[in-house]
Amino acid sequence: MSTDTSTETPEPASKIDLPDHVAGDSGSIPSFDCTFQIARFDPEQDEEAHWEEYKVTMYGTDRVLDALHKIKWEEDGSLSFRRSCAHGVCGSDAMRINGRNRLACKTLLKDLDTSKTITVEAIKGLPLEKDLIVDMEPFFQSYREVMPFLITSGHEPTRERLQSAEQREAFDDTTKCILCAACTSSCPVFWTDGQYFGPAAIVNAHRFIFDSRDEGGDMRLEILNDKEGVWRCRTTFNCTEACPRGIEITKAIAEVKQAVLQRAF
């Protein structure tokens, strides 16, 4: 007999009546013309980035990434940007779209004002490599410095370590991070002080500090109590607004600050 732990849902009906708009015709797919201003930079030719304009016709649920692909594949093959999964889980295509950090694959054109020019540029605060590509190494360096891995001591259990659903919930939000750098590169403190760990590194430290299985919290808190640590955060909420995964980053940073104070070095 099953020791079922979740609520069993009742067996759904074999047949239901569907409203017409769901079962059948829902009209044609709208198309619209968009104008893009894209910040271009060729490191082999240019001193600095400059804007170039492109006009494209796009459809229905197309995203900014689709427009970039259309430009690259049909107009100008030299336009360079990173992308991979194209649905907001790999974190490759963070860029500044109309002045806000977002993922190009998660920004639908119909949600932007397409009557105006759409601007696209590389994220700020990291060295520009080419067009929309920046050097991610400083970002990952900060990430590595907070020891983003489970630290335990003593004998390993034979089976899994136990953890209650409540304990798991305490760090659920920060496990969603995809390391796209949208948050860190939207932070005004990071722009002026590249030494600051930045929100993404703190998010990933939070993920372990609040994991009931982890024993490395004190070490991480000590690292983040540094002058380039959590105290640099000025609570501008840019990071929270930028996060494509909806992580409450400012709240996570506040929780880390609290933890530093409570452990009082």
Binding site: G24, E44, G77, C85, K130, D131, F140, L162, K176
Partner: protein, 586 residues
């Protein structure tokens, strides 16, 4: 040109590559070469879970898991490999938990488990809760956890290094890997990496199709590189079409939705899977569900303006339950289709998802040179490989399991091999072919565009080599691919630069896609039966007498197959241990 030397080179940093690196890095001097930053790999897009018979929530055992895997693969599974995978699944999940993976938990604090397609108790009696999961982000958590542990162990990565060739040298009559040739995207430089052992973990080839759940970067690189060096590809005709891709987009909606109780409906509002798989209905294996959906559409019961999709109905589930168990996929439906899954069914249609075939290996992850011999020092794991645990149709969750079990095995084996083996001398001018190819591409000024050829290829494959196939559609595909290859010879790229020349990268990838599309089509022509993910309308039944074997495709300059010069097809026996083929009903 820079030349590097490592004991072990791992190509690819998705789940399989990083799982291998964690093992190899602690035993031998190891470097991981990866086209993408590791956390960008497509393992991160996997959603539903990883099956293991932990029996945390109900009775289960690895033997049932083995049986389900064999039956799910329509008996083309090598049963020794399936046994290894199902047995080692338990430790693979526990390893990940100890590395820090935040699994969902039972009220007792153990790893929670849920239902998944084709996974059953006691040889098909009813669905079983076997999938260990972290909401619908299991792949993301696996990728992050493995990367975290690579950081912990100081694994050396070469990020954005694209491996374009495998250097092989014959030693005492046996071909062995000497190293790999890589193209550094940031600088445009070619690097040579000498190694005692090489592990391929480069993932799949979904981008041969238009409608796919795969990332843009999944262009079959490792398969093509191996094939071009004379290594066979196994069972390439078997491609999995995942039932529930967002209609028109192909973005994956996990089978976990159906595991949690969602069902499929046609335009009559009918739960049509009751007709196709009366016992386990919507939780039948993917090939069966995908075909059933496509059949509903063909018979005029599709939905939408073009009646070309069906509906995934979650509306009878509690919103709180959906939020807790399926947060990401419901957000995909909202973001990309503007559909609210609490109250409206979601438009879905099969999407090209997974290559069951690939570089042939044995259970030690050693690459096979042919049916009887391994290539000493060369390993493969994950989607790029064919071990074959998935046979003709992979069960949901078994890919996350495959990368962990065989990634680990490959990492240990490659490191142990390097301890006793010597470096093999690199062939003279090992980088020559790659340098020539890159220069030819960089200066190409033909009139054809990469984007146009790729689009035509993908549309061709969707039309002719998808869920339903016939001799006619497949031969048409081959004819058209030949024309596309002609056009490819007249391609021109626009980026003439060295640094981050992704125009050039896409041109190289497209060549791999064209080659592999040809291999897939030829293998599909020759399998005149229907089995698992390969359905031939002109041969609708499984034919165990004629086709209970693997397909091995070789690049061979002296052969000709179906008008394709330079290709040779052979067969390889299926390894059967416990289970004789039976009729596959659910």
């Amino acid at each position: 040109m820079q030349v590097h030397q490592y004991d072990v080179i791992i190509v690819g940093a998705g789940g399989a590559g990083m799982r291998a690196a964690i093992e190899s890095g602690q035993r031998a001097r190891t470097a991981v070469l990866t086209k993408l930053y590791p956390t960008r790999s497509h393992t991160g897009a996997a959603q539903g879970g990883m099956c293991a018979a932990l029996a945390n929530v109900e009775e289960d055992n690895w033997e049932w898991h083995t049986f389900d895997t064999v039956k799910g693969g329509d008996y083309l599974v090598d049963q020794d490999a399936a046994e290894v995978m199902a047995k080692e699944a338990i430790d693979a999940v526990l390893d990940l938990e100890k590395m820090g993976l935040p699994f969902n938990r039972t009220p007792e604090g153990k790893i929670d488990q849920r239902r998944f397609g084709g996974h059953t108790r006691d040889h098909g009696k009813s669905p079983v809760r076997r999938s260990c999961y972290a909401a619908d982000r299991t792949g993301h958590m696996i990728l992050q956890t493995l990367y975290q542990n690579c950081v912990k162990h100081g694994v050396e990565f070469y990020n954005e290094f694209y491996v374009l060739d495998l250097a092989m040298t014959e030693v005492d009559g046996v071909r062995r890997p000497a190293g790999v040739v890589a193209y550094e995207l940031a600088t445009g430089e070619v690097h040579l990496f000498q190694a005692k052992s090489v592990v391929f973990a480069t993932g799949g080839v979904g981008k041969v199709f238009k409608t796919t759940s795969n990332a843009h970067t999944l262009t079959g690189d490792g398969m093509a590189v191996a094939y071009n060096r004379g290594i066979p590809l196994e069972d390439m005709e078997f491609f999995q079409f995942h039932p529930t891709g967002l209609a028109g987009l192909g973005i994956l909606l996990s089978e976990a939705a159906r595991g949690e109780g969602a069902i499929l409906r046609n335009s009559d509002g009918e739960r049509f899977m009751e007709r196709y798989a009366p016992t386990i209905k919507d939780l039948a294996p993917r090939d069966i569900v995908a075909r059933s959906m496509a059949n509903e559409v063909r018979e005029g019961r599709g939905c939408g303006p073009n009646k070309d999709y069906v509906l995934l109905d979650l509306t009878h589930l509690e919103p709180a339950h959906i939020d807790a168990k399926l947060p990401d996929i419901t957000e995909f439906a909202r973001t990309y289709l503007g559909v609210e899954p609490y109250t409206e069914p979601v438009p879905v249609f099969p999407t090209a998802h997974y290559a069951m075939g690939g570089i042939p290996t044995n259970i030690g992850a050693e690459v096979l040179a042919d049916n009887d011999n391994v290539i000493p020092g060369l390993y493969a794991a994950g989607e790029v490989a064919c071990v074959s645990v998935h046979g003709s149709n992979r069960l949901g969750t078994n890919s996350l399991l495959d990368i962990n079990v065989f990634g680990k095995r490959a990492g240990i084996a490659a490191a142990e091999y390097s301890k006793t083996a010597d470096f093999v001398e690199l062939p003279e001018g090992a980088e020559g072919d790659t340098v020539a190819l890159l220069e030819k591409m960089r200066t190409s000024d033909g009139t054809e565009r990469i984007g146009a050829i790729r689009k035509d290829l993908q549309e061709l494959m969707d039309a002719n080599v998808q869920v339903f196939r016939t001799d006619e559609t497949l031969r048409e595909a081959l004819d058209e691919i030949a024309k596309l290859r002609e056009r490819y010879n007249n391609v021109g790229i626009q980026d003439r630069g060295k640094r981050f020349n992704l125009d050039l990268l896409e041109a190289v990838e497209l060549n791999f896609l064209l080659e592999l599309a040809e291999v897939i089509s030829v293998a599909a022509i020759h399998r005149k039966e229907s089995r698992g993910g390969h359905f031939r309308e002109d041969f609708p039944d499984r034919d165990d007498e004629g086709f209970m074997h693997h397909t091995m495709t070789y690049l061979d300059p002296d052969s000709e197959t179906d008008g394709i010069k330079g290709m040779r097809l052979e067969t390889k026996p299926v390894i059967v241990t416990r289970y004789q083929p039976m009729e596959r009903k659910y």
